[in-house]
Protein backbone atom coordinates (compact mmCIF):
# COMPACT_ATOMS: atom_id res chain seq x y z
CA UNK A 1 0.00 0.00 0.00
CA UNK A 2 1.19 3.47 -0.72
CA UNK A 3 1.45 6.10 1.91
CA UNK A 4 -0.72 8.99 1.16
CA UNK A 5 -0.58 12.64 2.03
CA UNK A 6 -3.91 14.12 1.21
CA UNK A 7 -4.04 17.83 0.77
CA UNK A 8 -7.56 18.19 1.89
CA UNK A 9 -9.02 21.58 1.49
CA UNK A 10 -12.55 22.70 1.14
CA UNK A 11 -13.78 23.38 -2.36
CA UNK A 12 -17.05 25.13 -2.85
CA UNK A 13 -19.45 23.28 -5.03
CA UNK A 14 -19.45 25.28 -8.20
CA UNK A 15 -22.20 24.53 -10.61
CA UNK A 16 -20.84 24.11 -14.07
CA UNK A 17 -23.43 24.50 -16.77
CA UNK A 18 -23.18 21.69 -19.25
CA UNK A 19 -23.09 23.89 -22.27
CA UNK A 20 -23.79 21.98 -25.41
CA UNK A 21 -26.60 23.78 -27.21
CA UNK A 22 -25.72 26.54 -29.62
CA UNK A 23 -26.78 29.22 -30.27
CA UNK A 24 -27.38 30.04 -26.66
CA UNK A 25 -30.93 30.74 -25.53
CA UNK A 26 -31.35 34.30 -24.23
CA UNK A 27 -32.10 34.49 -20.52
CA UNK A 28 -34.93 36.57 -19.06
CA UNK A 29 -32.95 39.69 -18.28
CA UNK A 30 -31.02 39.78 -21.54
CA UNK A 31 -32.03 41.81 -24.56
CA UNK A 32 -33.62 39.78 -27.26
CA UNK A 33 -30.86 40.35 -29.78
CA UNK A 34 -29.42 37.84 -32.21
CA UNK A 35 -26.48 36.25 -30.52
CA UNK A 36 -23.60 34.16 -31.70
CA UNK A 37 -20.86 32.73 -29.52
CA UNK A 38 -17.49 34.36 -30.09
CA UNK A 39 -14.75 32.24 -31.54
CA UNK A 40 -11.29 32.59 -30.15
CA UNK A 41 -8.20 30.79 -31.36
CA UNK A 42 -5.56 30.43 -28.67
CA UNK A 43 -2.22 29.51 -30.13
CA UNK A 44 -0.31 27.90 -31.70
CA UNK A 45 1.95 30.77 -30.63
CA UNK A 46 0.32 32.03 -27.49
CA UNK A 47 2.56 33.07 -24.57
CA UNK A 48 0.75 30.61 -22.30
CA UNK A 49 0.89 27.63 -24.64
CA UNK A 50 4.52 26.77 -23.99
CA UNK A 51 4.81 23.92 -26.37
CA UNK A 52 2.99 24.53 -29.58
CA UNK A 53 -0.70 23.77 -29.39
CA UNK A 54 -3.86 25.46 -30.59
CA UNK A 55 -6.97 25.68 -28.48
CA UNK A 56 -10.13 26.68 -30.33
CA UNK A 57 -12.72 28.21 -28.08
CA UNK A 58 -16.33 29.20 -28.47
CA UNK A 59 -17.21 31.76 -25.85
CA UNK A 60 -20.39 33.08 -24.35
CA UNK A 61 -19.00 36.14 -22.64
CA UNK A 62 -16.10 34.69 -20.69
CA UNK A 63 -17.61 31.25 -20.35
CA UNK A 64 -16.39 28.48 -22.61
CA UNK A 65 -19.23 26.88 -24.51
CA UNK A 66 -17.13 24.51 -26.57
CA UNK A 67 -13.46 23.87 -27.01
CA UNK A 68 -11.21 21.85 -29.26
CA UNK A 69 -7.54 21.17 -28.84
CA UNK A 70 -5.34 20.80 -31.92
CA UNK A 71 -1.99 19.10 -31.47
CA UNK A 72 0.65 18.01 -33.96
CA UNK A 73 2.67 21.17 -34.49
CA UNK A 74 5.78 19.42 -33.20
CA UNK A 75 5.24 16.11 -35.01
CA UNK A 76 8.56 15.04 -36.46
CA UNK A 77 8.15 11.35 -37.12
CA UNK A 78 9.83 9.88 -34.04
CA UNK A 79 8.70 6.34 -34.85
CA UNK A 80 9.67 6.54 -38.54
CA UNK A 81 13.09 7.85 -37.59
CA UNK A 82 13.66 5.06 -35.04
CA UNK A 83 12.53 2.36 -37.46
CA UNK A 84 15.12 3.50 -39.99
CA UNK A 85 18.03 3.35 -37.55
CA UNK A 86 19.62 0.71 -35.35
CA UNK A 87 18.24 -0.07 -31.91
CA UNK A 88 20.84 1.95 -30.05
CA UNK A 89 20.55 4.92 -32.40
CA UNK A 90 17.12 5.85 -31.00
CA UNK A 91 18.55 7.21 -27.73
CA UNK A 92 19.19 10.80 -28.87
CA UNK A 93 15.64 10.94 -30.23
CA UNK A 94 14.21 9.81 -26.90
CA UNK A 95 15.91 12.82 -25.24
CA UNK A 96 13.68 14.98 -27.33
CA UNK A 97 10.39 13.36 -26.38
CA UNK A 98 9.93 15.00 -23.02
CA UNK A 99 12.78 17.47 -23.23
CA UNK A 100 12.40 18.72 -19.66
CA UNK A 101 12.97 15.25 -18.18
CA UNK A 102 15.12 13.67 -20.90
CA UNK A 103 16.81 10.98 -18.80
CA UNK A 104 13.52 9.33 -17.84
CA UNK A 105 12.89 8.75 -21.56
CA UNK A 106 16.40 7.35 -21.97
CA UNK A 107 15.80 5.00 -19.05
CA UNK A 108 12.37 3.92 -20.31
CA UNK A 109 13.68 3.06 -23.75
CA UNK A 110 16.72 1.25 -22.34
CA UNK A 111 14.57 -0.83 -19.99
CA UNK A 112 12.25 -1.78 -22.85
CA UNK A 113 15.24 -2.81 -24.98
CA UNK A 114 16.71 -4.79 -22.09
CA UNK A 115 13.41 -6.60 -21.60
CA UNK A 116 13.47 -7.43 -25.30
CA UNK A 117 17.08 -8.64 -25.18
CA UNK A 118 16.51 -10.48 -21.90
CA UNK A 119 19.37 -8.76 -20.08
CA UNK A 120 19.68 -6.62 -16.99
CA UNK A 121 21.98 -3.70 -16.31
CA UNK A 122 24.48 -4.10 -13.43
CA UNK A 123 23.60 -3.00 -9.93
CA UNK A 124 25.47 0.30 -9.95
CA UNK A 125 23.89 1.32 -13.26
CA UNK A 126 20.45 0.67 -11.79
CA UNK A 127 21.07 2.95 -8.81
CA UNK A 128 22.52 5.62 -11.08
CA UNK A 129 19.51 5.35 -13.35
CA UNK A 130 17.21 5.97 -10.39
CA UNK A 131 19.27 9.03 -9.41
CA UNK A 132 19.22 10.32 -12.97
CA UNK A 133 15.47 9.67 -13.36
CA UNK A 134 14.65 11.54 -10.17
CA UNK A 135 16.90 14.47 -11.07
CA UNK A 136 15.05 14.63 -14.37
CA UNK A 137 11.66 14.38 -12.68
CA UNK A 138 12.58 17.27 -10.42
CA UNK A 139 13.63 19.44 -13.34
CA UNK A 140 10.33 18.54 -15.03
CA UNK A 141 8.28 19.52 -11.98
CA UNK A 142 10.21 22.76 -11.42
CA UNK A 143 9.62 23.73 -15.04
CA UNK A 144 5.93 22.96 -14.69
CA UNK A 145 5.51 24.90 -11.44
CA UNK A 146 7.61 27.80 -12.65
CA UNK A 147 5.81 28.14 -15.97
CA UNK A 148 2.48 27.95 -14.19
CA UNK A 149 3.35 30.74 -11.78
CA UNK A 150 4.71 32.87 -14.61
CA UNK A 151 1.54 32.50 -16.61
CA UNK A 152 -0.57 33.39 -13.60
CA UNK A 153 1.45 36.58 -13.20
CA UNK A 154 3.97 35.53 -10.56
CA UNK A 155 7.23 36.33 -12.28
CA UNK A 156 9.40 36.16 -9.18
CA UNK A 157 8.25 32.64 -8.35
CA UNK A 158 9.13 31.63 -11.90
CA UNK A 159 12.70 32.82 -11.38
CA UNK A 160 13.01 30.75 -8.21
CA UNK A 161 11.80 27.64 -10.04
CA UNK A 162 14.13 28.17 -12.98
CA UNK A 163 17.05 28.77 -10.66
CA UNK A 164 16.21 25.51 -8.87
CA UNK A 165 16.08 23.71 -12.20
CA UNK A 166 19.47 25.15 -12.99
CA UNK A 167 20.87 23.34 -9.92
CA UNK A 168 19.50 20.05 -11.27
CA UNK A 169 20.83 20.64 -14.73
CA UNK A 170 24.24 20.96 -13.12
CA UNK A 171 23.67 17.42 -11.89
CA UNK A 172 22.71 16.33 -15.42
CA UNK A 173 25.98 17.90 -16.47
CA UNK A 174 27.90 15.94 -13.83
CA UNK A 175 26.20 12.70 -14.90
CA UNK A 176 26.64 12.93 -18.65
CA UNK A 177 28.24 16.20 -19.67
CA UNK A 178 25.07 17.68 -21.12
CA UNK A 179 22.36 19.74 -19.53
CA UNK A 180 19.34 19.06 -21.72
CA UNK A 181 20.15 16.69 -24.57
CA UNK A 182 21.51 14.04 -22.26
CA UNK A 183 21.74 10.82 -24.33
CA UNK A 184 22.98 9.24 -21.09
CA UNK A 185 21.66 5.69 -20.92
CA UNK A 186 22.67 2.76 -23.11
CA UNK A 187 21.21 -0.68 -23.73
CA UNK A 188 22.66 -2.67 -20.85
CA UNK A 189 24.30 0.22 -19.05
CA UNK A 190 25.24 3.87 -19.11
CA UNK A 191 27.38 6.02 -21.33
CA UNK A 192 29.66 6.82 -18.39
CA UNK A 193 30.12 6.47 -14.65
CA UNK A 194 30.03 9.46 -12.31
CA UNK A 195 33.08 11.01 -10.72
CA UNK A 196 34.01 10.62 -7.04
CA UNK A 197 32.77 14.08 -6.14
CA UNK A 198 29.23 13.37 -7.33
CA UNK A 199 27.84 12.59 -3.89
CA UNK A 200 28.94 15.92 -2.44
CA UNK A 201 27.81 17.81 -5.51
CA UNK A 202 24.38 16.17 -5.42
CA UNK A 203 23.88 17.04 -1.76
CA UNK A 204 24.94 20.61 -2.34
CA UNK A 205 22.68 21.14 -5.37
CA UNK A 206 19.70 19.44 -3.79
CA UNK A 207 20.02 21.64 -0.71
CA UNK A 208 20.16 24.74 -2.90
CA UNK A 209 17.14 23.61 -4.90
CA UNK A 210 15.26 22.79 -1.70
CA UNK A 211 15.84 26.26 -0.33
CA UNK A 212 14.57 27.85 -3.54
CA UNK A 213 11.58 25.55 -3.46
CA UNK A 214 10.72 26.75 0.03
CA UNK A 215 10.82 30.33 -1.24
CA UNK A 216 8.56 29.34 -4.12
CA UNK A 217 6.04 27.75 -1.78
CA UNK A 218 6.12 30.72 0.58
CA UNK A 219 5.48 33.10 -2.27
CA UNK A 220 2.65 31.23 -3.92
CA UNK A 221 0.73 29.23 -1.36
CA UNK A 222 -0.23 32.26 0.68
CA UNK A 223 -1.11 34.39 -2.31
CA UNK A 224 -4.88 34.83 -2.65
CA UNK A 225 -4.74 35.58 -6.39
CA UNK A 226 -2.80 32.42 -7.08
CA UNK A 227 -5.05 30.31 -4.87
CA UNK A 228 -8.22 31.75 -6.41
CA UNK A 229 -7.13 30.77 -9.87
CA UNK A 230 -5.98 27.28 -8.88
CA UNK A 231 -8.55 26.18 -6.37
CA UNK A 232 -11.59 24.41 -7.78
CA UNK A 233 -10.57 24.87 -11.43
CA UNK A 234 -9.99 22.18 -14.04
CA UNK A 235 -11.72 19.47 -12.03
CA UNK A 236 -12.65 16.14 -13.58
CA UNK A 237 -13.87 13.17 -11.54
CA UNK A 238 -11.35 10.36 -11.23
CA UNK A 239 -13.55 7.87 -13.12
CA UNK A 240 -13.49 10.22 -16.10
CA UNK A 241 -9.71 10.67 -15.85
CA UNK A 242 -9.19 6.90 -15.86
CA UNK A 243 -11.51 6.49 -18.82
CA UNK A 244 -9.52 9.10 -20.73
CA UNK A 245 -6.20 7.41 -19.97
CA UNK A 246 -4.84 10.20 -17.75
CA UNK A 247 -1.89 9.18 -15.54
CA UNK A 248 0.73 10.86 -13.40
CA UNK A 249 0.34 13.81 -11.01
CA UNK A 250 -3.00 14.79 -12.58
CA UNK A 251 -4.52 11.39 -11.77
CA UNK A 252 -2.90 11.21 -8.34
CA UNK A 253 -4.26 14.67 -7.48
CA UNK A 254 -7.73 13.19 -7.94
CA UNK A 255 -6.99 10.56 -5.31
CA UNK A 256 -5.88 7.58 -7.40
CA UNK A 257 -2.51 6.40 -6.01
CA UNK A 258 -1.32 4.93 -9.32
CA UNK A 259 2.41 5.36 -9.75
CA UNK A 260 4.36 2.95 -11.97
CA UNK A 261 7.33 3.10 -9.59
CA UNK A 262 5.14 1.70 -6.82
CA UNK A 263 2.71 -0.45 -8.82
CA UNK A 264 5.24 -2.29 -10.97
CA UNK A 265 8.63 -1.42 -9.50
CA UNK A 266 11.55 -1.32 -11.92
CA UNK A 267 15.25 -0.67 -11.28
CA UNK A 268 15.70 -0.44 -7.49
CA UNK A 269 12.55 1.51 -6.65
CA UNK A 270 11.37 -1.35 -4.44
CA UNK A 271 14.47 -0.96 -2.26
CA UNK A 272 14.24 2.72 -1.38
CA UNK A 273 11.88 4.64 0.88
CA UNK A 274 9.46 7.16 -0.55
CA UNK A 275 5.81 8.11 -0.38
CA UNK A 276 3.34 8.52 -3.21
CA UNK A 277 1.48 11.77 -2.53
CA UNK A 278 -2.14 11.98 -3.59
CA UNK A 279 -4.72 14.75 -3.55
CA UNK A 280 -8.42 14.85 -2.84
CA UNK A 281 -10.22 17.49 -4.85
CA UNK A 282 -8.46 16.82 -8.14
CA UNK A 283 -8.32 20.53 -8.97
CA UNK A 284 -5.38 22.52 -10.23
CA UNK A 285 -4.24 23.37 -6.71
CA UNK A 286 -4.03 19.69 -5.78
CA UNK A 287 -2.05 18.99 -8.94
CA UNK A 288 0.32 21.76 -7.91
CA UNK A 289 0.63 20.46 -4.35
CA UNK A 290 1.18 16.87 -5.50
CA UNK A 291 4.09 18.06 -7.61
CA UNK A 292 5.51 20.08 -4.70
CA UNK A 293 5.41 16.96 -2.52
CA UNK A 294 6.85 14.76 -5.27
CA UNK A 295 9.82 17.10 -5.46
CA UNK A 296 10.49 16.43 -1.79
CA UNK A 297 10.11 12.70 -2.31
CA UNK A 298 12.50 12.73 -5.27
CA UNK A 299 15.05 14.57 -3.18
CA UNK A 300 14.64 11.93 -0.49
CA UNK A 301 15.21 9.18 -3.05
CA UNK A 302 18.37 10.75 -4.49
CA UNK A 303 19.79 11.28 -1.00
CA UNK A 304 19.31 7.59 -0.25
CA UNK A 305 20.74 6.49 -3.59
CA UNK A 306 23.98 8.48 -3.39
CA UNK A 307 24.62 6.93 0.03
CA UNK A 308 23.71 3.36 -0.81
CA UNK A 309 24.89 3.07 -4.41
CA UNK A 310 27.40 0.21 -4.67
CA UNK A 311 30.70 0.32 -6.54
CA UNK A 312 31.10 -1.75 -9.67
CA UNK A 313 30.77 -1.69 -13.44
CA UNK A 314 28.00 0.30 -15.14
CA UNK A 315 27.80 -1.82 -18.29
CA UNK A 316 26.77 -5.41 -18.86
CA UNK A 317 29.67 -7.66 -19.71
CA UNK A 318 28.23 -8.87 -23.01
CA UNK A 319 30.07 -8.08 -26.25
CA UNK A 320 26.90 -8.77 -28.27
CA UNK A 321 25.16 -5.82 -26.66
CA UNK A 322 27.63 -3.35 -25.23
CA UNK A 323 30.86 -1.89 -26.52
CA UNK A 324 33.92 -3.46 -24.97
CA UNK A 325 35.56 -0.16 -24.14
CA UNK A 326 38.13 1.78 -26.08
CA UNK A 327 41.06 0.64 -23.95
CA UNK A 328 40.77 -2.96 -24.99
CA UNK A 329 39.81 -2.08 -28.56
CA UNK A 330 43.28 -0.71 -29.17
CA UNK A 331 44.96 -3.79 -27.71
CA UNK A 332 43.04 -6.78 -28.95
CA UNK A 333 41.79 -7.93 -32.32
CA UNK A 334 38.62 -9.57 -30.94
CA UNK A 335 37.48 -6.43 -29.17
CA UNK A 336 38.10 -4.39 -32.29
CA UNK A 337 35.95 -6.74 -34.36
CA UNK A 338 33.22 -6.76 -31.72
CA UNK A 339 33.18 -2.97 -31.61
CA UNK A 340 33.08 -2.75 -35.40
CA UNK A 341 30.15 -5.14 -35.63
CA UNK A 342 28.18 -3.50 -32.86
CA UNK A 343 28.60 -0.03 -34.29
CA UNK A 344 27.78 -0.96 -37.88
CA UNK A 345 25.18 -3.69 -37.44
CA UNK A 346 23.93 -2.94 -33.98
CA UNK A 347 23.01 -5.44 -31.29
CA UNK A 348 20.35 -7.90 -32.43
CA UNK A 349 17.52 -8.80 -30.05
CA UNK A 350 15.52 -12.01 -30.42
CA UNK A 351 12.20 -12.00 -32.30
CA UNK A 352 9.41 -10.76 -30.10
CA UNK A 353 7.60 -7.75 -28.72
CA UNK A 354 7.57 -6.07 -25.34
CA UNK A 355 5.93 -3.19 -23.54
CA UNK A 356 7.81 -1.57 -20.68
CA UNK A 357 6.52 1.35 -18.65
CA UNK A 358 8.25 3.81 -16.36
CA UNK A 359 6.84 6.70 -14.38
CA UNK A 360 7.61 9.78 -16.44
CA UNK A 361 7.35 13.38 -15.31
CA UNK A 362 3.70 13.53 -16.33
CA UNK A 363 2.54 9.93 -16.09
CA UNK A 364 3.09 6.50 -17.50
CA UNK A 365 5.71 6.56 -20.22
CA UNK A 366 5.78 3.22 -22.03
CA UNK A 367 7.72 1.83 -24.93
CA UNK A 368 6.22 -0.82 -27.19
CA UNK A 369 8.95 -2.46 -29.23
CA UNK A 370 8.63 -5.09 -31.94
CA UNK A 371 11.69 -6.96 -33.15
CA UNK A 372 12.07 -9.27 -36.13
CA UNK A 373 15.51 -10.35 -34.97
CA UNK A 374 17.47 -7.80 -37.00
CA UNK A 375 19.43 -4.78 -35.87
CA UNK A 376 16.56 -2.42 -36.68
CA UNK A 377 13.24 -2.07 -34.88
CA UNK A 378 10.07 -3.06 -36.72
CA UNK A 379 8.23 -0.79 -34.35
CA UNK A 380 9.40 1.64 -31.69
CA UNK A 381 6.41 3.25 -30.14
CA UNK A 382 6.40 5.56 -27.13
CA UNK A 383 3.19 5.63 -25.13
CA UNK A 384 3.41 9.27 -24.18
CA UNK A 385 1.56 10.53 -21.11
CA UNK A 386 1.26 14.06 -22.50
CA UNK A 387 -0.81 12.86 -25.45
CA UNK A 388 -3.46 11.17 -23.33
CA UNK A 389 -3.39 13.90 -20.69
CA UNK A 390 -3.86 16.68 -23.23
CA UNK A 391 -6.90 14.86 -24.53
CA UNK A 392 -8.51 15.55 -21.15
CA UNK A 393 -8.03 19.32 -21.48
CA UNK A 394 -11.24 19.89 -23.43
CA UNK A 395 -13.56 18.17 -20.93
CA UNK A 396 -11.77 20.04 -18.13
CA UNK A 397 -12.38 23.50 -19.54
CA UNK A 398 -15.77 23.09 -21.23
CA UNK A 399 -18.20 25.17 -19.23
CA UNK A 400 -15.45 26.93 -17.28
CA UNK A 401 -14.20 30.50 -17.52
CA UNK A 402 -11.70 31.55 -20.17
CA UNK A 403 -9.13 32.40 -17.48
CA UNK A 404 -9.27 28.78 -16.22
CA UNK A 405 -7.68 27.55 -19.45
CA UNK A 406 -4.28 28.84 -18.33
CA UNK A 407 -3.86 27.05 -14.97
CA UNK A 408 -5.51 23.89 -16.33
CA UNK A 409 -3.23 23.76 -19.34
CA UNK A 410 -0.24 24.45 -17.09
CA UNK A 411 -1.08 21.64 -14.69
CA UNK A 412 -1.65 19.15 -17.50
CA UNK A 413 1.88 20.20 -18.43
CA UNK A 414 1.71 19.21 -22.06
CA UNK A 415 5.18 18.71 -23.48
CA UNK A 416 4.99 19.13 -27.22
CA UNK A 417 7.90 16.86 -28.08
CA UNK A 418 6.29 13.97 -26.28
CA UNK A 419 2.68 14.71 -27.20
CA UNK A 420 3.36 15.12 -30.91
CA UNK A 421 6.15 12.56 -31.20
Amino acid sequence: MSDTHGHGHHVEEEEKPVAKARPIEPTEDSLDLPFEPMELKMGPSHPATHGTVRILLKLDGERIVHSEVEVGYLHRGFEKECESGLWYQAFPYTDRLNYVSPIINNVGYALACEKLFGIEAPERAQWLRVIASEVSRMSDHYTCLGACSLELGAFTAFLYAVEAREQLWDLHDALCGARVTTNYVRIGGLSMDVGRDFRELAKERLAAAGKLQQDLEDLLLSNPIFLDRMEGTGVLPKEKLIELGVTGPVLRAAGVPYDVRRAQPYLVYDRIDYDVPIGEAGDNLDRFLVRIEELKQSRRMIEQCVERMPEGPVDVDDPHVRLAGKGRVFERMEELIAQFKIVTEGPKPPVGEVYQAVEGGNGELGFYLVSDGTGRPVKCRPRSPSFSNTQALSPMIDGAMLADVIPTFDMINMIGGECDR
Binding site: E39, E81, V351, Y355, G366, V370, R421
Partner: protein, 188 residues
Protein backbone atom coordinates in the same frame (compact mmCIF):
# COMPACT_ATOMS: atom_id res chain seq x y z
CA UNK B 1 14.26 0.02 -44.04
CA UNK B 2 14.29 -3.30 -42.33
CA UNK B 3 13.36 -6.49 -44.11
CA UNK B 4 10.23 -7.74 -42.43
CA UNK B 5 10.32 -11.48 -42.31
CA UNK B 6 7.23 -13.59 -42.54
CA UNK B 7 7.32 -14.82 -39.00
CA UNK B 8 7.84 -11.41 -37.42
CA UNK B 9 5.00 -11.68 -34.95
CA UNK B 10 4.90 -15.39 -34.32
CA UNK B 11 4.70 -15.41 -30.54
CA UNK B 12 8.10 -16.37 -29.28
CA UNK B 13 6.68 -18.72 -26.69
CA UNK B 14 3.09 -19.58 -27.53
CA UNK B 15 1.35 -21.48 -24.79
CA UNK B 16 -1.42 -24.02 -24.71
CA UNK B 17 -2.33 -23.18 -21.13
CA UNK B 18 -1.16 -19.68 -20.22
CA UNK B 19 -0.27 -18.66 -16.68
CA UNK B 20 -2.28 -15.43 -16.84
CA UNK B 21 -5.83 -16.00 -15.55
CA UNK B 22 -7.10 -13.28 -17.88
CA UNK B 23 -5.78 -15.13 -20.92
CA UNK B 24 -7.19 -18.45 -19.68
CA UNK B 25 -10.54 -16.77 -19.17
CA UNK B 26 -10.46 -15.23 -22.66
CA UNK B 27 -9.55 -18.57 -24.24
CA UNK B 28 -12.43 -20.43 -22.63
CA UNK B 29 -15.00 -17.67 -22.98
CA UNK B 30 -14.25 -16.63 -26.55
CA UNK B 31 -13.13 -19.97 -28.00
CA UNK B 32 -12.43 -19.63 -31.70
CA UNK B 33 -12.61 -15.84 -31.61
CA UNK B 34 -9.55 -15.32 -29.47
CA UNK B 35 -7.19 -16.67 -32.09
CA UNK B 36 -4.06 -17.15 -30.00
CA UNK B 37 -2.50 -16.10 -26.73
CA UNK B 38 1.12 -15.74 -25.68
CA UNK B 39 3.20 -14.62 -22.73
CA UNK B 40 6.51 -13.29 -23.93
CA UNK B 41 8.83 -11.77 -21.30
CA UNK B 42 5.90 -11.55 -18.91
CA UNK B 43 3.64 -9.59 -21.30
CA UNK B 44 0.24 -11.24 -21.72
CA UNK B 45 -1.00 -10.96 -25.29
CA UNK B 46 -4.22 -12.12 -26.94
CA UNK B 47 -4.82 -12.06 -30.68
CA UNK B 48 -8.51 -11.36 -31.20
CA UNK B 49 -10.71 -11.68 -34.26
CA UNK B 50 -11.98 -8.30 -35.45
CA UNK B 51 -15.62 -9.34 -35.19
CA UNK B 52 -15.21 -10.08 -31.48
CA UNK B 53 -13.22 -6.97 -30.54
CA UNK B 54 -16.02 -4.95 -28.98
CA UNK B 55 -17.39 -7.92 -27.07
CA UNK B 56 -13.95 -8.84 -25.75
CA UNK B 57 -13.29 -5.20 -24.90
CA UNK B 58 -16.50 -4.82 -22.91
CA UNK B 59 -15.80 -8.05 -21.09
CA UNK B 60 -12.26 -6.94 -20.22
CA UNK B 61 -13.50 -3.62 -18.89
CA UNK B 62 -16.62 -4.76 -17.02
CA UNK B 63 -15.78 -8.21 -15.67
CA UNK B 64 -14.62 -7.89 -12.07
CA UNK B 65 -11.86 -10.44 -12.62
CA UNK B 66 -10.47 -8.33 -15.48
CA UNK B 67 -11.37 -4.69 -14.64
CA UNK B 68 -9.17 -3.19 -17.34
CA UNK B 69 -10.44 0.32 -16.77
CA UNK B 70 -7.70 2.18 -18.63
CA UNK B 71 -6.78 2.02 -22.30
CA UNK B 72 -3.16 3.12 -22.36
CA UNK B 73 -2.36 2.97 -26.01
CA UNK B 74 -3.69 2.18 -29.46
CA UNK B 75 -1.33 1.76 -32.37
CA UNK B 76 -0.75 -0.39 -35.43
CA UNK B 77 2.16 -2.38 -36.80
CA UNK B 78 2.85 -2.82 -40.49
CA UNK B 79 4.31 -6.24 -41.36
CA UNK B 80 4.84 -5.52 -45.04
CA UNK B 81 5.05 -8.75 -47.01
CA UNK B 82 3.10 -10.81 -44.54
CA UNK B 83 -0.60 -11.65 -44.61
CA UNK B 84 -2.49 -10.21 -42.87
CA UNK B 85 -0.30 -7.16 -43.31
CA UNK B 86 -1.45 -5.00 -40.39
CA UNK B 87 -2.08 -5.45 -36.73
CA UNK B 88 -3.88 -3.00 -34.48
CA UNK B 89 -2.48 -3.18 -30.96
CA UNK B 90 -4.23 -2.15 -27.73
CA UNK B 91 -2.51 -1.89 -24.36
CA UNK B 92 -4.80 -2.18 -21.36
CA UNK B 93 -4.18 -1.50 -17.69
CA UNK B 94 -6.21 -2.43 -14.65
CA UNK B 95 -5.36 0.05 -11.91
CA UNK B 96 -7.14 -1.86 -9.13
CA UNK B 97 -5.78 -5.27 -10.06
CA UNK B 98 -2.42 -3.86 -11.16
CA UNK B 99 -2.40 -5.98 -14.30
CA UNK B 100 -1.74 -5.44 -17.97
CA UNK B 101 -2.81 -7.13 -21.17
CA UNK B 102 -2.14 -6.54 -24.84
CA UNK B 103 -4.85 -7.15 -27.45
CA UNK B 104 -3.91 -7.49 -31.10
CA UNK B 105 -6.26 -7.59 -34.06
CA UNK B 106 -4.88 -8.69 -37.45
CA UNK B 107 -6.18 -6.78 -40.47
CA UNK B 108 -5.86 -7.34 -44.22
CA UNK B 109 -4.58 -4.44 -46.29
CA UNK B 110 -7.65 -4.50 -48.59
CA UNK B 111 -10.05 -4.34 -45.67
CA UNK B 112 -8.42 -1.96 -43.23
CA UNK B 113 -11.45 -1.28 -41.07
CA UNK B 114 -11.93 -2.03 -37.39
CA UNK B 115 -14.68 -1.10 -34.92
CA UNK B 116 -13.84 1.91 -32.77
CA UNK B 117 -13.47 1.25 -29.04
CA UNK B 118 -14.37 4.85 -28.12
CA UNK B 119 -17.73 3.66 -26.70
CA UNK B 120 -15.78 1.44 -24.28
CA UNK B 121 -12.82 3.68 -23.42
CA UNK B 122 -13.31 7.36 -24.23
CA UNK B 123 -9.55 7.81 -24.25
CA UNK B 124 -9.34 5.89 -27.53
CA UNK B 125 -10.49 9.01 -29.38
CA UNK B 126 -7.14 10.68 -30.10
CA UNK B 127 -5.24 7.40 -30.19
CA UNK B 128 -7.44 6.02 -32.94
CA UNK B 129 -7.20 9.30 -34.84
CA UNK B 130 -3.43 9.02 -34.65
CA UNK B 131 -3.47 5.43 -35.92
CA UNK B 132 -5.76 6.51 -38.75
CA UNK B 133 -3.46 9.42 -39.55
CA UNK B 134 -0.21 7.47 -39.64
CA UNK B 135 -1.35 4.01 -40.85
CA UNK B 136 -4.67 4.63 -42.61
CA UNK B 137 -6.65 2.23 -40.45
CA UNK B 138 -10.33 3.26 -40.48
CA UNK B 139 -12.12 3.06 -37.16
CA UNK B 140 -15.75 2.30 -37.75
CA UNK B 141 -18.03 4.29 -35.44
CA UNK B 142 -15.38 6.81 -34.35
CA UNK B 143 -17.11 10.14 -33.57
CA UNK B 144 -14.55 12.36 -35.27
CA UNK B 145 -12.15 10.38 -37.45
CA UNK B 146 -9.74 12.87 -39.01
CA UNK B 147 -6.01 13.40 -39.07
CA UNK B 148 -4.51 14.60 -35.81
CA UNK B 149 -0.79 15.24 -36.45
CA UNK B 150 -0.63 15.88 -40.16
CA UNK B 151 -2.58 18.36 -42.24
CA UNK B 152 -5.60 17.29 -44.22
CA UNK B 153 -3.96 17.74 -47.62
CA UNK B 154 -1.19 15.27 -46.71
CA UNK B 155 -1.20 12.28 -49.04
CA UNK B 156 -0.56 8.79 -47.72
CA UNK B 157 0.19 7.39 -44.30
CA UNK B 158 3.82 7.86 -43.32
CA UNK B 159 4.30 5.04 -40.83
CA UNK B 160 3.53 2.41 -43.44
CA UNK B 161 6.66 0.54 -44.39
CA UNK B 162 6.20 1.34 -48.07
CA UNK B 163 6.16 5.09 -47.42
CA UNK B 164 9.77 6.18 -48.05
CA UNK B 165 11.32 8.12 -45.22
CA UNK B 166 12.94 10.52 -47.66
CA UNK B 167 9.67 11.42 -49.37
CA UNK B 168 8.82 15.10 -49.14
CA UNK B 169 5.44 16.70 -49.56
CA UNK B 170 4.90 20.40 -49.99
CA UNK B 171 3.50 22.16 -46.98
CA UNK B 172 0.20 23.81 -47.71
CA UNK B 173 0.72 27.27 -49.14
CA UNK B 174 -0.68 30.50 -47.78
CA UNK B 175 -3.57 30.46 -50.25
CA UNK B 176 -4.81 27.02 -49.30
CA UNK B 177 -8.23 26.82 -47.80
CA UNK B 178 -8.48 24.61 -44.77
CA UNK B 179 -11.61 23.38 -43.17
CA UNK B 180 -12.18 24.93 -39.79
CA UNK B 181 -12.62 22.14 -37.26
CA UNK B 182 -14.89 24.29 -35.11
CA UNK B 183 -17.27 25.15 -37.89
CA UNK B 184 -17.29 23.08 -41.02
CA UNK B 185 -18.88 25.65 -43.33
CA UNK B 186 -16.53 28.39 -42.22
CA UNK B 187 -13.35 28.86 -44.21
CA UNK B 188 -10.53 31.27 -43.80
Amino acid sequence: MSDPTNDATEPADALVQPASPVLRDLLSRFAGRVLAVSEHRGDATAIVDRAALLEVGRHLRDDAACAFDMLLDVTAVDYLGRRPRFEVVYHLLSIDRNDRVRIKVPLEEEDLVIPSVVPIWAGADWLERETFDLYGVRFDGHPNLKRIYLYEEFEGHPLRKDYPKEKRQPLIGPGAVRRDPMNDDLTR
